[in-house]
Protein backbone atom coordinates (compact mmCIF):
# COMPACT_ATOMS: atom_id res chain seq x y z
CA UNK A 1 0.00 0.00 0.00
CA UNK A 2 2.93 2.27 -0.51
CA UNK A 3 0.76 4.31 -2.88
CA UNK A 4 -1.07 5.76 0.11
CA UNK A 5 1.97 6.44 2.22
CA UNK A 6 4.53 7.64 -0.31
CA UNK A 7 3.68 10.49 -2.61
CA UNK A 8 4.64 9.66 -6.21
CA UNK A 9 7.96 11.34 -6.87
CA UNK A 10 10.75 11.51 -9.39
CA UNK A 11 13.50 9.03 -8.73
CA UNK A 12 16.51 10.46 -6.95
CA UNK A 13 18.66 10.12 -10.06
CA UNK A 14 16.11 11.84 -12.32
CA UNK A 15 15.67 14.66 -9.86
CA UNK A 16 19.43 15.08 -9.58
CA UNK A 17 19.84 15.10 -13.36
CA UNK A 18 17.06 17.66 -13.68
CA UNK A 19 18.71 19.96 -11.16
CA UNK A 20 22.13 19.42 -12.68
CA UNK A 21 20.77 20.13 -16.14
CA UNK A 22 19.13 23.39 -15.11
CA UNK A 23 22.24 24.46 -13.20
CA UNK A 24 24.47 23.64 -16.14
CA UNK A 25 22.30 25.52 -18.63
CA UNK A 26 22.25 28.54 -16.36
CA UNK A 27 26.04 28.43 -16.11
CA UNK A 28 26.24 28.14 -19.88
CA UNK A 29 23.86 31.09 -20.24
CA UNK A 30 25.89 33.15 -17.79
CA UNK A 31 29.09 32.27 -19.63
CA UNK A 32 27.70 33.26 -23.01
CA UNK A 33 25.51 36.23 -22.23
CA UNK A 34 26.77 37.41 -18.85
CA UNK A 35 29.21 39.89 -20.26
CA UNK A 36 26.59 41.39 -22.56
CA UNK A 37 24.06 41.71 -19.77
CA UNK A 38 26.69 43.24 -17.54
CA UNK A 39 27.60 45.75 -20.24
CA UNK A 40 23.91 46.64 -20.57
CA UNK A 41 23.84 47.65 -16.91
CA UNK A 42 27.18 49.45 -17.03
CA UNK A 43 25.71 52.96 -17.42
CA UNK A 44 23.63 52.36 -14.32
CA UNK A 45 26.68 51.07 -12.49
CA UNK A 46 28.83 54.06 -13.35
CA UNK A 47 25.99 56.41 -12.45
CA UNK A 48 25.78 54.75 -9.02
CA UNK A 49 29.55 54.93 -8.51
CA UNK A 50 29.65 58.59 -9.61
CA UNK A 51 26.73 59.56 -7.41
CA UNK A 52 28.25 57.82 -4.41
CA UNK A 53 31.66 59.40 -4.98
CA UNK A 54 30.03 62.79 -5.47
CA UNK A 55 28.05 62.50 -2.24
CA UNK A 56 31.13 61.37 -0.32
CA UNK A 57 33.39 64.03 -1.83
CA UNK A 58 30.91 66.90 -1.36
CA UNK A 59 31.62 69.06 1.71
CA UNK A 60 29.33 68.03 4.52
CA UNK A 61 27.75 71.47 5.10
CA UNK A 62 26.55 71.47 1.49
CA UNK A 63 24.98 68.05 1.93
CA UNK A 64 23.33 69.29 5.12
CA UNK A 65 21.90 72.36 3.39
CA UNK A 66 20.72 70.17 0.54
CA UNK A 67 19.02 67.78 2.94
CA UNK A 68 17.37 70.56 4.88
CA UNK A 69 16.33 72.30 1.66
CA UNK A 70 14.84 69.19 0.10
CA UNK A 71 13.05 68.28 3.30
CA UNK A 72 11.57 71.78 3.49
CA UNK A 73 10.59 71.83 -0.20
CA UNK A 74 8.89 68.47 0.24
CA UNK A 75 7.13 69.07 3.50
CA UNK A 76 7.01 72.87 3.99
CA UNK A 77 7.75 72.17 7.62
CA UNK A 78 10.66 73.83 9.40
CA UNK A 79 10.49 71.26 12.14
CA UNK A 80 11.00 68.39 9.74
CA UNK A 81 13.79 70.16 7.85
CA UNK A 82 15.72 70.95 11.05
CA UNK A 83 15.09 67.45 12.39
CA UNK A 84 16.52 65.88 9.25
CA UNK A 85 19.62 68.04 9.40
CA UNK A 86 20.09 67.22 13.05
CA UNK A 87 19.77 63.49 12.34
CA UNK A 88 22.42 63.75 9.62
CA UNK A 89 24.77 65.62 11.95
CA UNK A 90 24.34 62.98 14.65
CA UNK A 91 24.91 60.11 12.20
CA UNK A 92 28.03 61.83 10.89
CA UNK A 93 29.21 62.55 14.43
CA UNK A 94 29.12 58.83 15.19
CA UNK A 95 31.33 58.06 12.19
CA UNK A 96 28.74 56.71 9.79
CA UNK A 97 28.76 59.55 7.24
CA UNK A 98 30.43 57.68 4.38
CA UNK A 99 28.29 54.58 4.85
CA UNK A 100 25.20 56.76 4.99
CA UNK A 101 26.11 58.49 1.72
CA UNK A 102 26.60 55.11 0.05
CA UNK A 103 23.22 53.97 1.33
CA UNK A 104 21.48 57.19 0.26
CA UNK A 105 22.89 56.95 -3.26
CA UNK A 106 21.66 53.36 -3.58
CA UNK A 107 18.24 54.09 -2.10
CA UNK A 108 17.60 57.21 -4.16
CA UNK A 109 18.55 55.52 -7.42
CA UNK A 110 16.51 52.46 -6.45
CA UNK A 111 13.48 54.60 -5.64
CA UNK A 112 13.70 56.57 -8.87
CA UNK A 113 14.05 53.35 -10.84
CA UNK A 114 11.13 51.71 -9.03
CA UNK A 115 8.87 54.69 -9.67
CA UNK A 116 9.94 54.94 -13.30
CA UNK A 117 9.19 51.27 -13.86
CA UNK A 118 6.34 50.84 -11.41
CA UNK A 119 3.91 53.63 -12.31
CA UNK A 120 3.69 52.79 -16.05
CA UNK A 121 3.17 49.13 -15.21
CA UNK A 122 0.48 50.10 -12.71
CA UNK A 123 -1.25 52.22 -15.36
CA UNK A 124 -1.16 49.35 -17.84
CA UNK A 125 -2.59 47.01 -15.24
CA UNK A 126 -5.45 49.38 -14.53
CA UNK A 127 -6.27 49.73 -18.19
CA UNK A 128 -6.22 46.05 -19.21
CA UNK A 129 -7.66 43.35 -16.97
CA UNK A 130 -5.53 40.76 -18.73
CA UNK A 131 -2.33 42.57 -17.87
CA UNK A 132 -3.55 42.79 -14.30
CA UNK A 133 -4.18 39.06 -14.05
CA UNK A 134 -0.82 38.30 -15.64
CA UNK A 135 1.22 40.64 -13.46
CA UNK A 136 -0.42 40.10 -10.08
CA UNK A 137 1.07 36.62 -9.58
CA UNK A 138 4.49 37.95 -10.60
CA UNK A 139 4.19 40.63 -7.93
CA UNK A 140 3.21 37.98 -5.38
CA UNK A 141 6.31 36.02 -6.36
CA UNK A 142 8.58 39.05 -6.09
CA UNK A 143 7.35 39.88 -2.62
CA UNK A 144 7.53 36.42 -1.13
CA UNK A 145 10.34 34.48 -2.81
CA UNK A 146 13.30 34.12 -0.45
CA UNK A 147 15.81 36.71 -1.52
CA UNK A 148 18.83 34.43 -1.85
CA UNK A 149 17.01 32.31 -4.40
CA UNK A 150 17.35 35.04 -7.00
CA UNK A 151 20.29 36.88 -5.50
CA UNK A 152 22.78 34.16 -6.40
CA UNK A 153 21.82 33.87 -10.07
CA UNK A 154 21.93 37.66 -10.32
CA UNK A 155 25.38 37.70 -8.78
CA UNK A 156 26.54 34.96 -11.15
CA UNK A 157 25.44 37.18 -14.04
CA UNK A 158 26.49 40.58 -12.83
CA UNK A 159 29.12 40.00 -10.16
CA UNK A 160 29.01 41.29 -6.62
CA UNK A 161 28.40 44.92 -5.86
CA UNK A 162 26.04 47.76 -6.57
CA UNK A 163 24.10 46.73 -9.66
CA UNK A 164 22.97 43.30 -8.41
CA UNK A 165 22.27 45.01 -5.09
CA UNK A 166 20.11 47.58 -6.84
CA UNK A 167 18.24 44.88 -8.73
CA UNK A 168 17.64 42.91 -5.55
CA UNK A 169 16.35 46.03 -3.81
CA UNK A 170 14.03 46.88 -6.71
CA UNK A 171 12.63 43.37 -7.08
CA UNK A 172 11.53 43.56 -3.48
CA UNK A 173 10.53 47.22 -3.35
CA UNK A 174 8.72 47.82 -6.64
CA UNK A 175 5.48 45.83 -6.03
CA UNK A 176 3.78 48.36 -3.69
CA UNK A 177 4.00 51.22 -6.16
CA UNK A 178 2.68 49.00 -8.98
CA UNK A 179 -0.17 47.62 -6.89
CA UNK A 180 -1.24 50.95 -5.48
CA UNK A 181 -1.06 52.78 -8.82
CA UNK A 182 -3.32 50.12 -10.30
CA UNK A 183 -5.65 50.20 -7.31
CA UNK A 184 -5.73 53.99 -7.16
CA UNK A 185 -6.74 54.36 -10.80
CA UNK A 186 -9.34 51.63 -10.53
CA UNK A 187 -10.88 53.32 -7.49
CA UNK A 188 -11.52 56.58 -9.33
CA UNK A 189 -15.25 57.30 -9.38
CA UNK A 190 -17.12 55.93 -12.39
CA UNK A 191 -19.25 59.10 -12.51
CA UNK A 192 -16.20 61.29 -12.77
CA UNK A 193 -14.99 59.25 -15.70
CA UNK A 194 -18.43 59.44 -17.32
CA UNK A 195 -18.31 63.18 -16.98
CA UNK A 196 -14.87 63.22 -18.60
CA UNK A 197 -16.21 61.05 -21.41
CA UNK A 198 -19.18 63.35 -21.80
CA UNK A 199 -16.79 66.25 -22.32
CA UNK A 200 -15.22 64.23 -25.10
CA UNK A 201 -11.80 63.64 -23.53
CA UNK A 202 -9.59 60.99 -25.09
CA UNK A 203 -7.74 58.31 -23.15
CA UNK A 204 -4.64 60.40 -22.63
CA UNK A 205 -6.60 63.39 -21.32
CA UNK A 206 -8.63 61.17 -19.05
CA UNK A 207 -5.53 59.50 -17.68
CA UNK A 208 -3.44 62.57 -17.00
CA UNK A 209 -6.15 65.03 -16.02
CA UNK A 210 -8.64 62.83 -14.22
CA UNK A 211 -7.44 59.40 -13.20
CA UNK A 212 -3.85 60.08 -12.11
CA UNK A 213 -4.62 63.23 -10.09
CA UNK A 214 -7.48 61.50 -8.33
CA UNK A 215 -5.35 58.41 -7.71
CA UNK A 216 -2.47 60.41 -6.25
CA UNK A 217 -3.09 59.59 -2.58
CA UNK A 218 -2.87 55.89 -3.34
CA UNK A 219 0.11 56.29 -5.66
CA UNK A 220 1.89 58.24 -2.99
CA UNK A 221 1.17 55.60 -0.41
CA UNK A 222 2.79 53.17 -2.86
CA UNK A 223 5.87 55.33 -3.37
CA UNK A 224 6.19 55.71 0.35
CA UNK A 225 6.01 51.94 0.89
CA UNK A 226 8.55 51.41 -1.87
CA UNK A 227 11.04 53.70 -0.14
CA UNK A 228 10.49 51.94 3.16
CA UNK A 229 10.98 48.51 1.65
CA UNK A 230 14.09 49.65 -0.21
CA UNK A 231 15.58 50.78 3.09
CA UNK A 232 14.66 47.49 4.68
CA UNK A 233 16.73 45.76 1.99
CA UNK A 234 19.92 47.66 2.79
CA UNK A 235 21.31 44.89 4.97
CA UNK A 236 20.43 42.15 2.49
CA UNK A 237 22.08 44.12 -0.31
CA UNK A 238 25.23 44.24 1.79
CA UNK A 239 25.34 40.48 1.68
CA UNK A 240 26.35 40.74 -1.95
CA UNK A 241 28.96 43.37 -1.36
CA UNK A 242 27.02 46.65 -1.52
CA UNK A 243 28.77 49.25 0.61
CA UNK A 244 26.76 51.25 3.09
CA UNK A 245 25.10 51.06 6.48
CA UNK A 246 24.27 47.40 5.97
CA UNK A 247 27.88 46.22 6.01
CA UNK A 248 28.58 47.13 9.67
CA UNK A 249 25.23 45.60 10.62
CA UNK A 250 26.30 42.30 9.06
CA UNK A 251 29.62 42.52 10.80
CA UNK A 252 27.99 43.15 14.15
CA UNK A 253 25.50 40.32 13.73
CA UNK A 254 28.32 37.85 13.23
CA UNK A 255 30.46 39.17 16.05
CA UNK A 256 27.88 40.25 18.62
CA UNK A 257 29.08 43.88 18.42
CA UNK A 258 25.86 45.12 19.97
CA UNK A 259 26.59 48.83 19.85
CA UNK A 260 27.88 48.85 16.29
CA UNK A 261 24.79 47.00 15.12
CA UNK A 262 22.44 49.24 17.05
CA UNK A 263 24.07 52.46 15.83
CA UNK A 264 23.96 51.49 12.17
CA UNK A 265 20.50 50.02 12.55
CA UNK A 266 19.26 53.26 14.09
CA UNK A 267 20.90 55.25 11.29
CA UNK A 268 18.87 53.23 8.79
CA UNK A 269 15.75 53.89 10.84
CA UNK A 270 16.51 57.63 10.94
CA UNK A 271 16.88 57.71 7.16
CA UNK A 272 13.64 55.78 6.82
CA UNK A 273 11.74 58.20 9.04
CA UNK A 274 13.07 61.22 7.17
CA UNK A 275 12.20 59.76 3.76
CA UNK A 276 8.81 58.64 5.05
CA UNK A 277 7.72 61.88 6.67
CA UNK A 278 8.91 64.07 3.83
CA UNK A 279 7.26 61.96 1.14
CA UNK A 280 4.04 61.69 3.15
CA UNK A 281 3.86 65.40 3.75
CA UNK A 282 4.51 66.02 0.07
CA UNK A 283 1.70 63.64 -0.84
CA UNK A 284 -0.64 65.40 1.59
CA UNK A 285 0.20 68.79 0.18
CA UNK A 286 -0.63 67.60 -3.29
CA UNK A 287 -4.01 66.61 -1.95
CA UNK A 288 -4.64 69.71 0.09
CA UNK A 289 -7.33 70.96 -2.32
CA UNK A 290 -9.46 67.94 -1.44
CA UNK A 291 -9.93 69.13 2.08
CA UNK A 292 -11.08 72.54 0.98
CA UNK A 293 -7.97 74.29 2.19
CA UNK A 294 -7.06 77.43 0.35
CA UNK A 295 -3.88 76.42 -1.38
CA UNK A 296 -1.70 77.75 -4.15
Amino acid sequence: MSFWTDIPSLSRADLRDLKKGIDASFREFSKNYGEGIEAFFDPLYFFLVKLEKLLIAAPWPIILILVGGLAYLGSRSWKLALGSMLAFVVIGYFGMWKDMMATISLISVATIMCIAVGIPIGILMSRYNRVQSAITPILDLMQTIPIFVYLLPVVMLLGIGRVPGLIAVCVYAVPPVIRLTNLGIRLVDKETLEAADAFGSNYRQKLFSVQLPLALPNIFAGVNQTIMMALAMVVIASMIGVKGLGMPVLQSIQNQYLTLGLMNGLAIVALAIIFDRVSQKYGQRLQAHRYGADHE
Binding site: S30, K31, G34, G159, G161, M239, I240, M247, Q251, Q254
Partner: protein, 334 residues
Protein backbone atom coordinates in the same frame (compact mmCIF):
# COMPACT_ATOMS: atom_id res chain seq x y z
CA UNK B 1 55.89 10.81 -6.42
CA UNK B 2 58.52 10.00 -3.87
CA UNK B 3 55.80 9.73 -1.28
CA UNK B 4 53.81 7.29 -3.39
CA UNK B 5 56.85 5.07 -3.98
CA UNK B 6 57.74 5.22 -0.33
CA UNK B 7 54.31 4.28 0.86
CA UNK B 8 54.09 1.50 -1.72
CA UNK B 9 57.29 0.05 -0.36
CA UNK B 10 56.01 0.48 3.16
CA UNK B 11 52.77 -1.23 2.26
CA UNK B 12 54.69 -4.06 0.63
CA UNK B 13 56.87 -4.41 3.72
CA UNK B 14 53.84 -4.65 5.96
CA UNK B 15 52.35 -7.31 3.69
CA UNK B 16 55.55 -9.31 3.64
CA UNK B 17 55.82 -9.26 7.39
CA UNK B 18 52.48 -11.05 7.37
CA UNK B 19 49.85 -9.92 9.78
CA UNK B 20 47.34 -11.57 12.00
CA UNK B 21 44.45 -9.32 12.88
CA UNK B 22 43.54 -8.94 16.45
CA UNK B 23 39.80 -8.63 16.94
CA UNK B 24 39.00 -4.97 16.55
CA UNK B 25 35.76 -4.73 18.49
CA UNK B 26 33.29 -1.91 18.16
CA UNK B 27 34.40 1.66 17.80
CA UNK B 28 32.60 4.93 17.22
CA UNK B 29 33.55 7.44 14.57
CA UNK B 30 32.74 11.16 14.46
CA UNK B 31 30.80 11.99 11.32
CA UNK B 32 31.27 15.75 11.12
CA UNK B 33 28.85 18.08 9.45
CA UNK B 34 30.89 19.23 6.46
CA UNK B 35 31.55 17.35 3.22
CA UNK B 36 35.27 16.50 3.44
CA UNK B 37 34.95 15.23 7.01
CA UNK B 38 31.93 13.07 6.35
CA UNK B 39 33.65 11.61 3.28
CA UNK B 40 36.73 10.77 5.32
CA UNK B 41 34.68 9.30 8.14
CA UNK B 42 32.85 7.03 5.73
CA UNK B 43 36.02 5.92 3.97
CA UNK B 44 37.54 5.15 7.36
CA UNK B 45 34.41 3.26 8.33
CA UNK B 46 34.47 1.05 5.25
CA UNK B 47 38.19 0.33 5.52
CA UNK B 48 38.05 -0.39 9.25
CA UNK B 49 34.98 -2.59 8.89
CA UNK B 50 35.90 -4.50 5.76
CA UNK B 51 39.65 -4.44 6.09
CA UNK B 52 40.25 -4.76 9.81
CA UNK B 53 37.07 -6.39 11.04
CA UNK B 54 35.93 -3.50 13.25
CA UNK B 55 32.33 -2.66 13.96
CA UNK B 56 31.98 1.05 13.37
CA UNK B 57 29.21 3.22 14.69
CA UNK B 58 28.88 6.70 13.18
CA UNK B 59 28.22 9.59 15.59
CA UNK B 60 27.16 12.93 14.17
CA UNK B 61 29.13 15.87 15.49
CA UNK B 62 30.59 19.32 15.10
CA UNK B 63 34.11 20.46 15.93
CA UNK B 64 33.82 21.73 19.48
CA UNK B 65 31.17 19.30 20.67
CA UNK B 66 33.02 16.28 19.30
CA UNK B 67 36.27 17.37 20.86
CA UNK B 68 34.64 18.02 24.22
CA UNK B 69 33.02 14.60 24.18
CA UNK B 70 36.23 12.80 23.18
CA UNK B 71 38.18 14.66 25.82
CA UNK B 72 35.74 14.10 28.66
CA UNK B 73 34.02 10.82 27.83
CA UNK B 74 36.42 9.11 25.43
CA UNK B 75 33.65 8.82 22.85
CA UNK B 76 33.65 8.85 19.83
CA UNK B 77 36.93 7.00 19.36
CA UNK B 78 38.00 8.61 16.10
CA UNK B 79 37.65 12.15 14.70
CA UNK B 80 38.98 11.96 11.14
CA UNK B 81 39.25 15.69 10.44
CA UNK B 82 39.46 17.83 13.56
CA UNK B 83 40.46 21.50 13.14
CA UNK B 84 42.33 22.11 16.35
CA UNK B 85 43.44 25.78 16.27
CA UNK B 86 40.53 26.77 18.51
CA UNK B 87 41.31 24.07 21.08
CA UNK B 88 45.09 23.89 20.85
CA UNK B 89 45.66 24.25 24.59
CA UNK B 90 43.04 21.72 25.70
CA UNK B 91 44.21 19.26 23.06
CA UNK B 92 47.81 19.65 24.19
CA UNK B 93 46.81 18.81 27.76
CA UNK B 94 44.75 15.79 26.65
CA UNK B 95 47.65 14.53 24.53
CA UNK B 96 50.16 15.00 27.33
CA UNK B 97 47.92 13.11 29.72
CA UNK B 98 47.55 10.34 27.16
CA UNK B 99 43.78 10.57 26.74
CA UNK B 100 43.91 11.52 23.08
CA UNK B 101 46.44 10.83 20.34
CA UNK B 102 47.05 12.31 16.95
CA UNK B 103 46.98 9.44 14.47
CA UNK B 104 47.71 11.70 11.53
CA UNK B 105 48.65 15.35 11.32
CA UNK B 106 47.26 17.17 8.25
CA UNK B 107 45.30 14.30 6.68
CA UNK B 108 44.58 16.41 3.57
CA UNK B 109 47.19 18.21 1.50
CA UNK B 110 46.87 21.94 0.78
CA UNK B 111 44.35 22.47 3.50
CA UNK B 112 43.87 25.75 5.21
CA UNK B 113 43.20 29.37 4.49
CA UNK B 114 45.00 31.75 2.22
CA UNK B 115 44.92 33.72 -1.00
CA UNK B 116 43.99 31.89 -4.16
CA UNK B 117 43.95 32.34 -7.93
CA UNK B 118 42.53 30.07 -10.65
CA UNK B 119 45.16 27.80 -12.19
CA UNK B 120 44.98 29.45 -15.63
CA UNK B 121 46.20 32.74 -14.18
CA UNK B 122 49.45 31.01 -13.24
CA UNK B 123 49.63 29.19 -16.57
CA UNK B 124 49.29 32.43 -18.51
CA UNK B 125 51.63 34.36 -16.23
CA UNK B 126 54.43 31.99 -15.30
CA UNK B 127 56.32 34.77 -13.54
CA UNK B 128 53.71 34.87 -10.78
CA UNK B 129 55.26 32.60 -8.18
CA UNK B 130 54.13 34.10 -4.90
CA UNK B 131 51.66 36.58 -3.48
CA UNK B 132 54.44 39.18 -3.62
CA UNK B 133 54.65 38.75 -7.42
CA UNK B 134 50.88 39.09 -7.75
CA UNK B 135 50.87 42.26 -5.68
CA UNK B 136 53.13 43.89 -8.28
CA UNK B 137 50.54 43.21 -11.00
CA UNK B 138 47.22 44.85 -10.03
CA UNK B 139 46.66 45.38 -13.77
CA UNK B 140 45.93 41.65 -14.16
CA UNK B 141 42.95 41.87 -11.82
CA UNK B 142 41.22 45.12 -12.82
CA UNK B 143 38.51 46.34 -10.50
CA UNK B 144 35.20 47.17 -12.09
CA UNK B 145 34.77 50.29 -10.02
CA UNK B 146 38.13 51.70 -11.08
CA UNK B 147 39.92 49.63 -13.73
CA UNK B 148 43.24 51.30 -12.97
CA UNK B 149 43.27 49.44 -9.66
CA UNK B 150 43.53 45.75 -8.84
CA UNK B 151 40.68 44.00 -7.06
CA UNK B 152 41.32 41.73 -4.11
CA UNK B 153 38.27 39.85 -2.84
CA UNK B 154 38.49 39.66 0.93
CA UNK B 155 36.54 37.73 3.48
CA UNK B 156 32.82 38.33 4.15
CA UNK B 157 31.86 41.01 6.66
CA UNK B 158 31.80 39.75 10.21
CA UNK B 159 33.93 36.64 9.78
CA UNK B 160 37.12 36.34 11.79
CA UNK B 161 39.10 36.23 8.56
CA UNK B 162 37.75 39.65 7.60
CA UNK B 163 40.02 41.23 10.20
CA UNK B 164 43.04 39.16 9.14
CA UNK B 165 42.50 40.08 5.51
CA UNK B 166 42.12 43.79 6.30
CA UNK B 167 45.31 43.76 8.35
CA UNK B 168 47.32 41.78 5.79
CA UNK B 169 46.03 44.20 3.14
CA UNK B 170 47.61 46.93 5.24
CA UNK B 171 50.74 44.94 6.07
CA UNK B 172 51.54 44.29 2.40
CA UNK B 173 50.81 47.99 1.64
CA UNK B 174 48.39 46.89 -1.03
CA UNK B 175 46.60 50.22 -1.23
CA UNK B 176 49.86 51.91 -2.20
CA UNK B 177 50.51 49.18 -4.76
CA UNK B 178 47.19 49.95 -6.45
CA UNK B 179 44.72 47.48 -4.94
CA UNK B 180 41.26 47.81 -3.52
CA UNK B 181 39.86 45.40 -0.98
CA UNK B 182 36.36 44.25 -1.88
CA UNK B 183 34.09 42.87 0.83
CA UNK B 184 31.88 40.20 -0.76
CA UNK B 185 29.36 40.49 2.09
CA UNK B 186 28.62 36.80 2.52
CA UNK B 187 29.93 33.40 1.59
CA UNK B 188 27.35 33.28 -1.19
CA UNK B 189 28.77 36.53 -2.57
CA UNK B 190 32.34 35.24 -2.29
CA UNK B 191 31.51 31.95 -4.02
CA UNK B 192 29.52 33.64 -6.75
CA UNK B 193 32.24 36.18 -7.48
CA UNK B 194 34.73 33.33 -7.92
CA UNK B 195 32.28 31.29 -10.00
CA UNK B 196 31.48 34.22 -12.24
CA UNK B 197 35.12 35.04 -12.89
CA UNK B 198 36.18 31.46 -13.60
CA UNK B 199 33.16 30.62 -15.78
CA UNK B 200 34.13 33.53 -18.00
CA UNK B 201 37.85 32.96 -17.84
CA UNK B 202 38.50 36.25 -16.02
CA UNK B 203 41.27 36.58 -13.48
CA UNK B 204 40.34 36.38 -9.82
CA UNK B 205 42.43 36.95 -6.72
CA UNK B 206 41.04 36.55 -3.27
CA UNK B 207 40.67 34.81 0.03
CA UNK B 208 39.39 31.25 0.30
CA UNK B 209 40.03 28.05 2.19
CA UNK B 210 40.37 24.38 1.51
CA UNK B 211 39.21 21.61 1.33
CA UNK B 212 36.12 23.04 -0.31
CA UNK B 213 34.06 22.36 -3.37
CA UNK B 214 34.83 25.64 -5.23
CA UNK B 215 38.56 25.05 -4.84
CA UNK B 216 38.14 21.63 -6.48
CA UNK B 217 35.62 22.74 -9.08
CA UNK B 218 37.56 25.76 -10.31
CA UNK B 219 41.08 24.37 -9.85
CA UNK B 220 42.04 27.15 -7.52
CA UNK B 221 45.68 27.39 -6.52
CA UNK B 222 46.80 28.42 -3.07
CA UNK B 223 49.52 31.04 -3.43
CA UNK B 224 52.66 30.95 -1.40
CA UNK B 225 52.88 34.31 0.34
CA UNK B 226 56.56 34.70 -0.45
CA UNK B 227 57.21 35.78 3.12
CA UNK B 228 57.57 33.50 6.15
CA UNK B 229 55.07 33.34 8.97
CA UNK B 230 56.02 36.38 11.02
CA UNK B 231 55.40 34.79 14.39
CA UNK B 232 52.32 34.24 16.47
CA UNK B 233 52.85 37.54 18.30
CA UNK B 234 52.28 39.33 15.02
CA UNK B 235 49.37 37.08 14.04
CA UNK B 236 47.43 36.53 17.26
CA UNK B 237 48.45 39.86 18.79
CA UNK B 238 47.76 42.03 15.77
CA UNK B 239 46.68 40.58 12.42
CA UNK B 240 43.77 38.60 13.85
CA UNK B 241 42.47 41.61 15.83
CA UNK B 242 40.33 44.57 14.81
CA UNK B 243 42.09 47.22 12.75
CA UNK B 244 42.28 49.74 15.58
CA UNK B 245 43.92 47.21 17.90
CA UNK B 246 46.60 46.42 15.34
CA UNK B 247 48.84 49.42 14.71
CA UNK B 248 51.68 47.82 12.85
CA UNK B 249 50.86 44.50 11.16
CA UNK B 250 53.86 42.82 9.53
CA UNK B 251 53.67 40.93 6.24
CA UNK B 252 53.24 37.28 7.04
CA UNK B 253 52.04 34.08 5.50
CA UNK B 254 48.66 32.89 6.77
CA UNK B 255 48.68 31.19 10.15
CA UNK B 256 48.76 27.42 9.76
CA UNK B 257 45.48 25.69 10.48
CA UNK B 258 46.27 22.51 12.39
CA UNK B 259 44.12 19.58 11.43
CA UNK B 260 44.51 16.17 13.01
CA UNK B 261 42.98 12.77 12.87
CA UNK B 262 42.48 12.33 16.59
CA UNK B 263 41.90 8.98 18.27
CA UNK B 264 41.17 8.12 21.87
CA UNK B 265 43.53 6.14 24.04
CA UNK B 266 40.99 3.33 23.98
CA UNK B 267 41.30 3.06 20.22
CA UNK B 268 45.07 3.25 20.27
CA UNK B 269 45.47 0.46 22.79
CA UNK B 270 42.62 -1.83 21.72
CA UNK B 271 42.38 -1.49 17.96
CA UNK B 272 44.82 -3.51 15.86
CA UNK B 273 48.14 -1.78 15.31
CA UNK B 274 47.52 -1.98 11.57
CA UNK B 275 44.56 0.36 11.96
CA UNK B 276 46.77 3.00 13.56
CA UNK B 277 49.25 2.36 10.80
CA UNK B 278 46.49 2.97 8.24
CA UNK B 279 45.68 6.35 9.77
CA UNK B 280 49.32 7.34 9.81
CA UNK B 281 49.56 6.80 6.03
CA UNK B 282 46.21 8.24 5.08
CA UNK B 283 46.81 11.56 3.31
CA UNK B 284 44.36 12.78 0.72
CA UNK B 285 46.10 14.66 -2.09
CA UNK B 286 44.53 18.13 -2.46
CA UNK B 287 43.24 17.69 -6.06
CA UNK B 288 41.72 14.29 -5.25
CA UNK B 289 39.85 15.73 -2.30
CA UNK B 290 38.77 18.61 -4.52
CA UNK B 291 37.40 16.22 -7.15
CA UNK B 292 35.52 14.30 -4.50
CA UNK B 293 33.90 17.44 -3.11
CA UNK B 294 32.82 18.45 -6.62
CA UNK B 295 31.39 14.96 -7.09
CA UNK B 296 29.48 15.29 -3.81
CA UNK B 297 28.13 18.69 -4.79
CA UNK B 298 27.14 17.70 -8.31
CA UNK B 299 25.45 14.48 -7.30
CA UNK B 300 24.20 15.61 -3.95
CA UNK B 301 25.91 12.51 -2.64
CA UNK B 302 26.08 11.90 1.09
CA UNK B 303 29.22 10.68 2.81
CA UNK B 304 28.63 6.97 2.34
CA UNK B 305 27.86 7.26 -1.39
CA UNK B 306 30.90 9.46 -1.85
CA UNK B 307 33.12 7.06 0.10
CA UNK B 308 32.19 4.21 -2.24
CA UNK B 309 32.84 6.45 -5.24
CA UNK B 310 36.22 7.39 -3.79
CA UNK B 311 37.19 3.77 -3.13
CA UNK B 312 36.15 2.80 -6.64
CA UNK B 313 37.66 5.64 -8.62
CA UNK B 314 40.78 6.48 -6.64
CA UNK B 315 42.19 3.03 -5.98
CA UNK B 316 45.71 4.25 -6.71
CA UNK B 317 45.42 6.63 -3.76
CA UNK B 318 43.96 4.50 -1.00
CA UNK B 319 45.60 1.18 -1.77
CA UNK B 320 48.90 2.73 -0.72
CA UNK B 321 47.45 3.33 2.73
CA UNK B 322 46.76 -0.33 3.50
CA UNK B 323 48.33 -3.71 2.91
CA UNK B 324 47.52 -5.60 -0.29
CA UNK B 325 45.57 -8.07 1.78
CA UNK B 326 43.35 -5.40 3.32
CA UNK B 327 43.01 -3.67 -0.05
CA UNK B 328 41.75 -6.89 -1.58
CA UNK B 329 39.17 -7.34 1.20
CA UNK B 330 37.91 -3.77 0.83
CA UNK B 331 37.72 -4.09 -2.96
CA UNK B 332 35.79 -7.30 -2.64
CA UNK B 333 33.20 -5.58 -0.46
CA UNK B 334 32.42 -2.72 -2.85
Amino acid sequence: MKKVIFSTIAAAAVTLSGQAFAACGSISMADMNWPSATLMANVDRIILEEGYGCEVEMVAGATTTTFASMDAKGKPDVAPELWTNAMAVALGVAMDEGRLHSARKMPIQDLGEGWWVPDYVLAKNPDLKTVLDILERPDLFPAKEDPSKGEFIGCPAGWGCQLSNINLFRAFEMEKKGWILVDPGSQAGLDASMAKAVERGDNWFGYYWSPTEPVGRYNMKLMDFGVPFAGSDNWDGCVALAEQECDDPKPSSWTVSMVHTIVTDNFKTNAPAEAMDYFSKRIYPGPVMGQMLVYMGDNQADGSDAAIEFLQSHEDVWTTWVSADVAAKVKASL
